[in-house]
Each structure stands twice: as structure tokens, then as C-alpha cells.
């Protein structure tokens, strides 16, 4: 059993694919926000990247505000909609733990902390470590001419 399967009890049954080597250069929040050059986190010690105008607290509201600044709006489902791209935010009892973004296939892509990028289902990452999906957001896809 891999370390990923050890951490996420649903993932083996749900299916997943490892898509990158491990890296500490960026994390799930950066990845969902289309940045693979920095580690994003709203720490109060001002060590990590976080948009200047947003509060530094790991609450769902703060992360929704961050994605809203990138054009996302709150959405009530995780279904694939071809004209939209979606992100999902996970929380557990400690607050926000994870964010993931939807692929055109309908699957989701995540950077697991300093671990690999993987493709997976939303339920695949449910469990003690990340908790459950607390919010889905979506935005219109940019048209490339």
C-alpha cells in the first residue's frame, strides 16, 4: 500500500493516478490557483505567499474570497459543465485543509502538500486528513482565440 493510500482510505477504491514527482515548490492551494511556483498559505507569520489584500486566516471564507478574486463564484454542484472550470475546498475540524480543481475529463487534479500531483475523484480524498468538500466554486473558462 502506498503512502497516499495509507492517508486516504477511499482512494484505492475510487482510483487515482500519480501525475508528477514530489515537490515542495508549490502546494494544493497554489495548484488550484494556477500557480506552480510558490507555496500559498495565509499564515500569520507572513512567511508564505498570500494575496496582500486578504486576511491571513485559514477559514473557508478567506479561501472563498481568494478564489473569488480569481473570478470564481459559489456553486452548488461538482458536475462537469463544459463552459466552466471548478475548484473544490476541503475542510476538517481544524479549518481549510485542501483545494483541488476539475479537469476537462470531470476528474479532479490535486497537489497533495509536498507530495505528488494526482488525478482523483472528490470522494477519494475524503477522510480524517482532509475532511470533506465544504465548498465548490466555478468560473467561466477563458476563451482562447
Amino acid at each position: 500500500m502506498s503512502d497516499i493510500e495509507n492517508s486516504f482510505p477511499n482512494i484505492a477504491q475510487e482510483g487515482y493516478t500519480i501525475c508528477s514527482p514530489k515537490s515542495i515548490e508549490y502546494n494544493c492551494i497554489a495548484w488550484a490557483a494556477d500557480d506552480n511556483s510558490k507555496w500559498w498559505w495565509p499564515d500569520i507569520d507572513l512567511l508564505y505567499y498570500w494575496p496582500e489584500n486578504l486576511p491571513r486566516e485559514a477559514t473557508l471564507e478567506t479561501f472563498v474570497a481568494m478564489f473569488s478574486e480569481k473570478g470564481y463564484k459559489i456553486c452548488d454542484n461538482a458536475e462537469l459543465e463544459t463552459e466552466y472550470e471548478k475548484v473544490a475546498i476541503y475542510t476538517n475540524e481544524t479549518g481549510v485543509t485542501h483545494a483541488t480543481k476539475q479537469l476537462e475529463s470531470g476528474k479532479w487534479t490535486s497537489k497533495l502538500g509536498p507530495n505528488h500531483d494526482i488525478e482523483h475523484t472528490l470522494i477519494g480524498l475524503f477522510g480524517k486528513e482532509y475532511g470533506r468538500v465544504a465548498q465548490i466554486l466555478k468560473r467561466k473558462k477563458l476563451k482562447i482565440s
Binding site: K38, D45, L47
Partner: protein, 151 residues
């Protein structure tokens, strides 16, 4: 010579018939020798006990390995930093600084929270926040300027 007087009663005849030769010969293990042997065994055991013989490097390596195992999928820096192994490294105080800088040099990782907690400093420029390569380079330079790393 007849050494049977030194053996427990009834042992003589059995020992003298063994195929291993004459092991009824006394070996010189008096009470004092036994005491020395016990003390030596205890000393060996004590030497091999990690808790009493752990050097700061060994302690750091053990805690760092535990911390890496436990933060394998974490994005939250606060959660990572609050893991007991990380807090214990911070608890090592200034002894941990050269060890952390050495670890950073060999394999960049999220040691910045610990370095700030121990030193009270944060030399990383706001523009470099979250940029792990720049954060690492900045702290290694800080280590040189402050005598923790040879220039």
C-alpha cells in the same frame, strides 16, 4: 587434581562423563569477577540505549524524519509547524540552528517557521514569500552572515 570439592554435590560424576572434556575445572568466576562482568554488561546496554546516548544530530534526524512522515500531504504550514516532532526541534533552541541550516542545504523543506521561532528573525523579503528556492537561499545566506555556515 581432584576439583570435585569445588562443585555442587552430585555434579561431579555427571560433569566428568561429558564429551566436552574436563569442564569441571573451575573458571575463576568469583563474586568480584561476576560483579565486574555484570557492570560491564550494564555499561554496554546503557551505551546502546538511544535515549541516554542520543547526540543533537541524531535527535534532530529522528525528529525530522518523523515530521516529514507526518506532514506528507499537508498544505497548512500551521498544522505542519504544530506537529509534536517539529515543536520538539524548536525546543532544541539554538542547538538546532546549524542542524536546520544543514538540512535546508541538503534538501530544502519547510524549516522557515522553526528558524523564525528560534532566531526571532525573518530575513526573507515580502516578494519572496512562498518561493521555496529564494527562502532557502536567503536563510543559508543568513547562516553565513551569522557564523552558522562557513563562508
Amino acid at each position: 587434581m581432584d576439583y570435585s570439592q569445588y562443585l555442587p554435590s552430585g555434579a561431579t560424576s555427571q560433569l566428568s562423563r561429558t564429551s566436552l572434556g574436563d569442564i569441571s575445572t573451575p573458571r575463576g568466576f568469583g563474586d568480584e569477577a561476576k560483579k565486574v562482568d555484570e557492570e560491564f554488561s550494564n555499561a554496554e546496554l546503557h551505551y546502546s540505549q538511544p535515549i541516554s546516548r542520543t547526540t543533537p544530530i541524531q535527535k534532530f534526524d529522528r525528529l525530522a524524519a518523523t515530521w516529514e512522515y507526518n506532514n506528507a500531504n499537508m498544505s497548512s504550514i500551521s498544522e505542519m509547524a504544530l506537529l509534536p516532532s517539529y515543536q520538539e526541534i524548536i525546543g532544541m533552541g539554538k542547538d538546532a540552528i546549524p542542524l536546520i541550516l544543514d538540512a535546508l542545504k541538503n534538501k530544502p523543506n519547510h524549516w522557515f517557521w522553526a528558524l523564525k521561532a528560534i532566531t526571532g528573525e525573518n530575513p526573507v523579503q515580502p516578494a519572496d514569500r512562498g518561493n521555496i528556492k529564494m527562502m532557502t537561499a536567503t536563510w543559508l545566506e543568513w547562516g553565513k552572515q551569522n557564523g552558522y555556515i562557513a563562508k
